[in-house]
Structures are given as C-alpha cells and as structure tokens.
Symmetry: D2
Subunit: 367 residues, 4 copies
C-alpha cells in the first residue's frame, strides 16, 4: 500500500477543478480517495458554510466519477474542512489516496493513513463522556486498520458536529446540552474529541480522559490531535496519519508541539529530523506535500510576557487572529502558504501552543 | 546629543502609567521628549479613535509635567499612533528623548532623531502635489536639523490627516477631494507623503515625485518611509531617524525592504549587519529597543504563486490581515511582539513588500 | 396563466427541505418553477459563498425532480440570492412558479412574471455600455414575453456577475476593467444594470442611460430595479414582475420608492393601495407573500439632518448596516422578517432611499 | 428645581464642541450639570475605548469651566456612554442639568433626575450579590434624594465596570470571577445591576433578587433599568429619571416595555400617553428631547416565529445586530436617529424585548 497526497488550490468553495483535472489526466484514481482535508474561505466559526459547500462540491465530483451518490461518498470518505484563510494563508484541499503498490515493503517506514466514522451525535452528546468514548474507539479502529503503531501516529484529524442555536434548543428530550452558546459548544466538542484521541493513543490515562476534565484541566492533552467542528456533519470523522513499515512510498510525516505562538525552534528541529538543512526558511518548498497547524490565543492574555488583545476583541474572533499569526509564521518557515491552520486547540497540545505536522517527500539520502 | 528610546506597554489607550512612572523615577526628563510613536488597540482605519485617545492622554501627561497645555505639546511633539494590534502584536508606545550628553562624539555614528511639522491641510490637498511638496520640505528640515546625511536615514515616520465623509463633503470651495471615500483618501495621503519622503531623500527624482504617480506607478517608492493617517491630526507630523556622527550613545538603527510578505532573508541579513548571530530567532531580545514594520497585501492577489484572499474579504479589512501576518513573522524573528506594524504601504517599499527598521543596543564588539 | 409564489425558510444554505416537502406534497410542480429569489446567510459582499451554495443545492434538487442536470436548471431558471440577514431578517427563498390556469382571465390584472438571461460577461464588460445594453434587452424580452405593459412593471430583479481580484487581473487582453477593486466592481455592475432596466422601461431616456452616467449622476435611476451581483454567475439573470390582464390568480404586486431610510409614509401609502387598513403594523401578515427592499447608506453622511457613521466604518460594511436598519423598519411595518433586503442601490431609486415591492394576496373587496 | 435636557451631536468621541458652545452662549451653566448619557462610535463591547475617550474629553471641558480636575468631575457626575451607532443611529450625548427654578411647583409632575455612585468593584464582585446590593442601595439614594416616588421612576441608567482578561486574571486573591470571559462578565454585571434596580423599585421581591437568579431566570426583570458596562469605570454610576411634583418645567418622561423586537404597538401607545397624535411616524420630532432603548436578540433564535441568525454570527456581534435593528425601528417612529440604544438587556424587560423611554416637551394642552 502507498499513500499518495495531492494538494489543490481553489478559487472558491465550489472550485474542484484541480481534482477534476488530476482525475482527467489519470493522476488520481477516484476510487482510491480515502480522505480530503482542506482550508476554505469562511470564518471558521458557526456561520461558516464554505465547509459544507466544498464538501458538497467534492462529493458530487467524486461520486459522479465512481457511480456513487454524493451522500454515499460522504458516508465513506472523510471530507474535513476548516474555514479561515487569514493573512497570507491560501485556500486549498489535500486529497489522500491509498493505492496498491507493486513495490514490496522494504522494512523502512512510510506514510500511512487510516479513517473511521462514528455514529451521529446530538447536541446534548457534545463535550460529554459519550463523545470522548466514540472518538477514542474510532481512532483505535482507524489506527489498527492501517497498521500504524500507537507511537508512530503523527497526526489525527477529527471533524465533529456543530449545531446552530435552533438545533441546540430543539434537543430537549433528555439531558441539556453543555451550553446553549453555539460557538462555545464547538469548543466543548473539540475538547472532548481531543481527549478521545489522547485516550486512544495512551497520551492521557483513561481516568483523566473524562468529562470533568473537558475545558477545565488543560494539562491533559494530545500532542497529535487536530479537531474541527462544523454544522455540515452530524457524526465524527477521523483521519489517522502516521508512519508504518507496512506501507511504501516516498512520503513521510513528522510532528512537533509548539510551546507558544513564537516557538519556532521546535518547528526547525522537526524539519531537521525530516532532513532539511538548517535555515530560517526552506529553500526547497516543493518537498512539502501538506502541513497541518493547530493554534490558539494564549489564555492568560500574554505572549512571552507581553499582552495580546485577541481575547478582548469584539470585532475579530480570537481564532481568526491566531490562525493569521501562527499561520504566517509557519508559512515563512515552510515557504508555503497553503497550510491547514486551525484554531480552537483545546486539549490539543500545550495551552497557548499547538501542533505542527508536516508531510514531506523524503530526499534520497534520508533513511 | 544622545537619543534615548523607551518603550512602554499599555492596557488601554488612556494608560500612560508607563511613562508616568518613568518620569516619576527620573528615568525620563519630560522636557527632553521629542516624539512618541505607538501602536494602539483600534482597527487602524477611519473609525479608529484609539490613536486620538492616546494622543490626548499623553499630551495631558507630558504637558502637566512641563507646564504646557496639551495643545502646545501636540503642536511641538509628534505623537504618531497607528491602530491595530492583530494576532500576537502588543499595544505599546515608544518615547524618543534627546538629551545633552557630556560624552564628546567619538567619530562613530549613533542613533539620531529629528522632527518637523507641516501646516494644516484640507481634504482637497490630500494625495496632491501640495502634500508631496510640504512633506518633502518637512523631511528636509527634520533631517538637516538633526545632522543626518540623506544616505544615513533609516526610517521616516509621517502621520498625516484623515477625514470623515462629512469633512470631505464640506471642503467644497475649490478643488474636489481626490475621492469622497474616506478610507481611500487615507491611501491617497499615505501615497503622496511617501513620494514626498522619497523626493526629499533623493530616492525618486523630482520629475517622478508628482501627483500623477500617486497610486498609479508603484515602482516609485521610498525604502525608508512609513506613513500613517488618522482623523486626529490636521497637519503632517514627521519623524526622521537615522545615524549621525554628531550624536552619541549605544543605540543604532538599520533597515531593510522585504520584497514580499515571506521575505525573511532580508530581515536576517539586516540583523546580522546589526551584530546578531545567525538564528531563526533572536536569543537576546532585550537588545531590541524598537521595531517598525510596514506591509501590505500583495496587489496581484498572490503570495509566492499561491492565492491569498485578503483583497476579497468583506469581513476583515486587508490591512488587518496583513498586519497580523507580517507582524507575527517579524515577531517570531525578533522574539518580541511589541512591534509597530502598519498597513497601507503605498509607495513605501516594493509592491507587496515593506519596510522593516530596528533600533538596537549595540554590543561592545560591534563598530 | 397564474403566478404562484411560495416562500420557504432555511436553516443553512443547503437546506432545501422546504421546497422538497412542497414538491413531495404536490403543492409545487417542479416543472413550473421559473425563478427563485432569496436571502442567504453570508455577508452579501465579494466573499459571500452562501449564494452559490444555495444555488447549487436548489438546482440539484429541482434538476433531480425533472431529470435535468443542475447546470441545465441554472441556465433556464434564474436563481437569485442576496447574502446578508442582518438584525431581525430571516433567511429564506421565494419560489415563483407559472401554472396553467383553467380559469379564464376576467379583465382584471393579476401578478405576472417573466425571466431572461444574457450571455456571459467578462470583468472588463462590467459597468460599461455593453452591460447597460444587454440588460436592457433582457428586461425587454422578459417583459414582452410575459405580457406586462412597461407601466405595469413593479419589480425587476437582476443578478449579474462579480469577480474576484484574480479574475479581474486575468482579463487583460483588451480593455481594463473599470476598477480592480472587486467590491467596487460589484457596484459598477449594479449601476450599469440599473440603468439598463431604466432604459428598457423608459424611466431614463436613452441618451442618459450611458456609461458616463454610471456611478456619477445618481439622478438617473430606475424606481423598480433591484440589482445584485455575485461571483456565482457569469451572466446576468433577469426577473420581471408586474401586473397583467393576461394573467389570473389572487396575487398582486405594488411598489414604492422610499425617499430616505426613514420614509415609512411611502410604504404605508403603498399598503393602503393594496387594501390594508391604516396601521403602524399589518395585523394580517399572512397576506404578505413576498417583499423586496433595496436600500443604501445616504451618500452625504446624514439621515434627516443627523450624521450616520455607516460610510466611515472599517469593521462592518455599510451595506450590512443599512440592510439591518431598513430591513427592520420594513419588517416592523409588514409584521414579517423574511424580507429580501438588498444593499447597494446605485441608480435604484433616489439617492439614500430605495425600492420596496410587496406581493400580497388580495382581499375579496379589492379590485 | 427644574431638569434641563440638552442633546448634542458629535463628530468623534473627542468632539465636545456642542456643549462648549452651549456653555459659551450661556445656555448651560456648567455647575448645574448632573449627568451625561450618550452613544459613541465604538463597538459597544469590551474593546470599545470611545466611551472612555468621550468621558475624558467631557470631564476635561466641564472641569476646566468650574475649576475642578477631570477626576473630580467624574467622581461627581455620571458620564455614561454606550458604544455602537449601528445603521441609521447617530452619535450624540445628552446633558442633564438641574437648575433652580423661581417658578413655584404647581402640583403637576415634571421631569426629575437623581444620581448616585457606588464604591469601586473588583472583577470577582461582578454578577454577584454584592453588586445587586450596592446598585439597589445607590438607586434608592438617587431616587429618594430627587423626590421621585418608586412608582414614578421611568428610567434608571446604570453604568458598571467591565474588565479586560488581564484584570480578571489578576484578581485572584479570594473568590474567582464569575467567568474569565471578559464579554461574558459584562453580561453578568448588567444582569446583577438590573436585579439591583428591580429590587430597589420593588419590581422583584428581595428573595428573587439574588445571585442564583443572575442570567438564569429571565422572568425576574426591571421594566425601567438600562445597564451598560465598560472598562472605563471601576464603580457603578446610577442615574434615576422619573416624574415628581417637587420639580417644575415643561419636560416629561414615559416608558414602555416592548415584548419583542417588532412590538411597535407598545411604543405607539406610550407616545399617545405623551400626547402625540396617532401616526406611524411623529410629525413634530422637535418635541423629542431624548430617547433610550434597551434591546437584545431573542434567546430562542426566533422573532415572531421566523429564525434570526444573530446568535450564530461570528462576524458581527449579536448586540450590534439588534441595536441596528431595534434602533432603526424606533428611529422610524420617533423621526429621530439620535437615540441611546443599548444591547445586552439581561433582566431588563421581558426576554427578547426591551425598554423604551422618551423624554418629551409637553404640549400646552396636555396635563
């Protein structure tokens, strides 16, 4: 098996011409597509409909090629989009395909990808133990199915449901939702899913991967989880990416946790582990095949001792601020602006910091 | 003469406690203050009143200490603020003081500062030849008065007037304003002033420093100009900063022009000229005394070949996007978030790029 | 012939469940649908993708029912959406169907609807004479085809193309676009199309329906035009609505031009012409079948002598301000918040004012 | 005693020329000013500094005229500003002056005004019983001092403190603040103060004016309270306005509670009580001397059965939406856009509705 990774720019959330042309040219067999992760034009908050628009557009395209309905595609292929291309960031989507590879495995590790879905959830499930458990189970299924050892997982993307106020208020027969603020409920969902990932991978012991920790004790976190939420899904979609000696191909993934928004040292160290020569900026950005960043405004209101204003701003949401800032920093290092940068990093890396994972083409000299 | 540079954080635009305490402690003699440049909490656009609020607060404080009215202080001391602390940026103001120095000049160059004012302008003057000329003359006065050779100027900050729609429409007896869009008129003013700076310093020949070039031919630019506009002033205020052998003290300034938003190479080269060892991030940020950045969204809609969305965004102004992005990149290099980062870089550096100027404390080994 | 008008709420721009259920119930024959006009969740500016998302969703639904591709539906049925449900406004879409009516016409006038399309346009055509002419011709075709006398037209909705910066800059072989500011180009397009409507209906003489008047002389306007623009179409779509004695059914339309944002008198007068008893608020809102409002921030910066701040605001676009304000005023009168309220009323009604058109079910006593 | 009410427009938050000219002309004796209430240009949220800017500007002006420091003025005269002039609303401030009146009272009631202050509060006091109690006591002092019977109070404006995240996090020695979300803490403060008003006036019994009701049971409310919060004050300022037979003069106040955003019937009924003839819009707006509106987005997500989107919006805060909408509706009735319209109506009128209070000049024929 070999994991192929194709990244396409898009003009608007219905612009799937990149994938269409690649399929027309035979570069991608639509039947091999297992997941798509992308960054769309919206605000990344509750009222961001660009995620759903791209998901609809892609599922129609893929379904049309393989004779499936759009709904069937969406039930099988995680289509995970995060809104918000603030600053220099560039809207794009990354297609993951798994292809049979005639080359035998050679004992070396290569990029590996697995996916899983949970059942649909209701507003009152969000942020609760139920979500922790179903996400943990889905991560486990995806990981084991793809033959990645727990310690070799470098990135787990989860997309879970968000709900508008109307939907939250409707879900009345039973337990109340954790909050009736729709934006806040997205945070609950991201937090619970992150703890689910951490539990599945053994990053947090089971006794701490519990509901009472959600949004309360940020010392419990996953170093590889990236969680998004959106009104366009009702279930949780899971993509597990790592390294495995059961896979082949030229691609590799590594990750690091930034300790705060300015922690570029950890990113440079990761790049050197991937074989890049030391430099403030990568000279050969063509080797970057995809990059994923998770970040958030530091909760104490400071960055390295100086106050920031992101959490007091009534005009621009804190997530838009921090995505634009950390996204630009990583773009300046990777020499690449088509990054998946997602805010809302509750229990995803240390408080105020965040995850950076990069998929690269290995150079010949690198083991 | 010695130029002292003091940077203070502020909680809100009326928080002048930093300067007050420094004066109380005898660290700053209020009579020696010649200019203040800062970054306030607002949006940096027409309806940003945080600039005026800080100017009022500081002029009251300084005036109260030296027995002058706030108005007299403002007529003598440029108080230049730019709104917008997007992302990791931190609100602050930098106080420039010129003090008599018993130490004789030693033939080496040191930081030098000069200031000047123009007369008041009307909306119909903005972006016109009149503004080019008066700004050029003011830059010349400030530069010569402070003994800086034209080639040793590293940073020229100009703050010019902006006008609300009502004021624009009122100015009817004579020539119409260049535009009746108040935000656009700010751009005209920044552009004309930048050409005025370029003319004064010989960066652009006189025959190209003309009205017809304003916002039309961006190949004409100043590499050291940083222009802001705001409704809180009616005239242009000019601060010229450079190096001169008639000045003493441990401080130095250097500048560079980024060719685009990701051009970190030019910044690192500048830092090495200032004696910093090569590194993605400065290890000793205490040496940074102030930093000034000018930037703008690339007009062709791309950054290094990938589309950005800053110029299509109806929710967040392009200037807020680019300040947050380039500000974060420079902050990650300087290890310092209290940067003066200003958008709207028309004719201020190459298109899509911008100016970076840094005032540092020299190490012993540096000439 | 009878024009039926069905209005449906929607939760998000992919929520076409209202129309689906109506078709399932046999209340609407999908083959009879001639146009859909609606108000979606986005910002109504360049980066509003909710219009395209709803258009895609509706064309898939309708096409699926009648065995046409989504593209074929869109080429035949104007799907015209305007983003922005500020304040109390409610997202919805209004479906116009034309059905054969066994009842003979009785000499009375009834609601009549006609549609037309133009060819695709390029960025450099927008705001130019070409657009004035093709829109005028399309209005004429739609009006004549539906048997509405020019003086009986009460509402003409046009949706024309908008372009992102990238598209504008690409269209280089020939004349430059009127502006390379994408938001401003939307205004040019609305203005030229409005003059096209005015020319077609004889509201403005041919010699004044010319390019040089576009965005320059606002005394030339149509009192019945409502123009939107969006990146989701490349051509102009036209829907002409009026009264005709060749049509039957219980519905009627009337319109009025508000002279400024507070001109509720004209709205009440129109309602009384439609048979509503005088009252600050309609007591029987079920008679309202659809309502269309066009408005804009008064260009001189005042409303009835007091300054407004809409044109100086860098945080919220002027169109969002005025839609929320005028939309709420009309909603308070009609006792109905599912209004089509569109900003950007260049040459659409008097400066600072705007069009209000209402489709109602006639009471028995009304002629 | 006579209460005079003067309303002034302002260009920006430092524009106090209206009051200055009135004092220059002898129309207002600065020593008689007891309170100023106004609407400034900012967003009305945590990072709105226009409130403090106007307060600073006015206190400097008034203090300069009567030989007091700005601080002394602010400690004696409530200067209460709410940010946000969305839509057609117009920035302004209303000056309340109490003057000795040679005319003896005639047994009729006239406009009466009283003010009071509380001690400074800490973040951990906000939204707590402490705030309920001190506000209740201050309302009682102000009311009794001005001779207004509890049943004759028509409007109570309270301005309480807000805190930035930094200040909230600093206040650690003791009880934690109710929330460390600065915007949410403003809501807690408004809610507790409203219950304080309701307790003082007997609108809510003491056993329900308790901390556990704050933001939980919205059936407990004051029908005359209007509460704002801002970082520019540390204490609560209270202005009580009503009718009293111990006061003289031509002015009167009335109030009503809108049951929802479209409840114009209650406003028209109030206007008729004040002697205005029935009409959708007041023909003689010069009689309006000031108007105060409190409103909020309906918590269930609907207005009269149709969904609104205000609570799902990540681009524009819900308060900005509802102020623009309800403000426009009231402006269209009063024929006046210089209204004080404030969002965040927790426990201030029925859920989803809000208070409208109007000060008018009585006509001769009215008792």
């Amino acid at each position: 098996m070999r994991a192929d990774v194709h990244r396409f720019a898009m003009i608007d959330p219905s612009d799937v011409s990149g994938l269409r042309q690649a399929m027309d040219a035979g570069a991608i067999d639509p039947a091999t597509i297992v997941a798509v992760i992308g960054k769309t034009h919206g605000n990344g908050l509750v009222n961001d409909y660009t995620r759903g628009y791209l998901a609809q557009s892609l599922s129609l395209l893929i379904g049309g090629r393989i004779g499936q309905s759009a709904e069937a595609v969406r039930a099988r292929v995680p289509l995970i989009f995060s809104g918000g291309v603030e600053g220099v960031l560039s809207p794009h989507y990354t297609v993951f395909a798994v292809v049979a590879d005639e080359a035998p495995t050679d004992g070396n590790m290569a990029l590996a990808v697995g996916v899983a879905f949970t059942d649909a959830m209701r507003p009152s499930d969000i942020g609760r133990q139920a979500q922790i458990e179903v996400v943990a189970a889905a991560v486990e299924r995806a990981r084991i199915g793809s033959g990645i050892a727990a310690g070799d997982v470098h990135f787990v993307q989860v997309k879970g449901p968000a709900f508008t106020l109307a939907a939250i208020l409707e879900d009345r027969d039973g337990r109340r939702a954790a909050t009736d603020n729709s934006g806040k409920l997205m945070a609950f969902g991201r937090a619970a899913s992150a703890l689910g990932v951490a539990k599945a991978l053994g990053e947090v012991p089971a006794e701490r991967a519990v509901e009472s920790v959600v949004l309360e004790d940020f010392s419990a976190y996953s170093a590889v989880a990236s969680i998004s939420a959106g009104v366009e899904v009702q279930y949780n979609e899971v993509v597990v990416i790592g390294m495995s000696d059961r896979w082949t191909g030229p691609l590799a993934i590594a990750h690091t946790a930034m300790t705060d928004a300015l922690d570029v040292g950890s990113v440079h160290a990761m790049l050197q582990r991937l074989g890049f020569p030391p430099a403030p900026q990568i000279a050969d950005p063509a080797r970057i095949r995809a990059a994923f960043v998770k970040c958030e405004a530091q909760r104490d209101g400071f960055v390295r001792g100086r106050p920031h204003t992101m959490l007091n701003d009534g005009d621009i949401n804190e997530q838009r601020h921090i995505r634009g800032a950390v996204g630009a920093i990583i773009a300046s290092i990777l020499n690449d602006t088509a990054l998946f940068v997602s805010g809302g990093a509750e229990h995803q890396g240390p408080d105020g910091g965040g995850l950076v994972a990069v998929i690269v083409e290995r150079t010949r000299t690198q083991v």
